[in-house]
Symmetry: C2
Subunit: 143 residues, 2 copies
């Protein structure tokens, strides 16, 4: 599952009690258009193209609902606005500190690692995520 299926979208809204409004749908559709990980502001710009009436605040609200019901994932990087990811499968992203571009990292199994963290703290771990930053190949070549 890379992006939520139509049936899954409806199911999650139904279970959560939230209603699937046109605005929330528009935000979700906008996210599908992006291949990368847009910020709230970027999502807003795309949504506005189709429906110029929506306000930035509405997009923020919609994003927080979508995140709450598990359709999207929020990634907090240091020094940059929160970015949203439609792919909720376990995976990890790396962000270029120069151009802001975000790429996926595969081939590292974080889940075992997270399990070990859970064993080593009396806290009830609710989230364990990686914040990986670096310089992407393009920026690197530009010296």
């Amino acid at each position: 599952m890379v992006s939520a299926l139509e049936s899954d979208v409806r199911e999650r809204f139904r279970r959560s009690g939230y209603t699937l409004t046109s605005q929330r749908r528009a935000v979700l559709e906008a996210l599908k258009d992006f291949k990368g990980h847009p910020s709230a502001e970027e999502v807003y710009l795309v949504v506005k193209k189709r429906n110029p009436k929506v306000a930035l605040g509405t997009v923020y609200q919609a994003l927080s609902v979508l995140e709450e019901i598990g359709l999207i994932e929020a990634k907090h990087w240091s020094e940059s606005p929160v970015r949203y990811d439609l792919n909720t499968d376990p995976h990890h992203d790396i962000r270029c500190t120069r151009c802001g571009e975000v790429a996926e990292i595969t081939g590292v199994e974080f889940e075992d690692f997270a399990a070990r963290i859970r064993e080593n703290t009396p806290y009830e771990v609710t989230s364990a995520s990686l914040v990986i930053e670096g310089v992407c190949p393009i920026c690197r070549s530009e010296n």
Copy 2:
């Protein structure tokens, strides 16, 4: 090495070219008083007690210098201001999402994991850190 020794402090300032001013020293001393991981605001309040003239902006500047020369470490958690840690040894912290309390996690070796990340991306990885959040035992007992 848990907190920087006097000689190390001077050495790092010397090498960096920054001067070890009374304000920067005051910020460093304030950090020593905290057992936990204060925010810039909290550091400011402590520094101000001894020297009421310092401004919040000065504390921010001092913190960024101290971080740059490696005497302290900045931890960016989602939904909360940056917190500063005097312990620059490899270790990981977990933050309670209810009370904000920060605790250390030991017994998990992140370095091997980080090395594997480096192998799996064309990015030049500059930082790989964990953002672990959960509910601390005290908050948990309070239901």
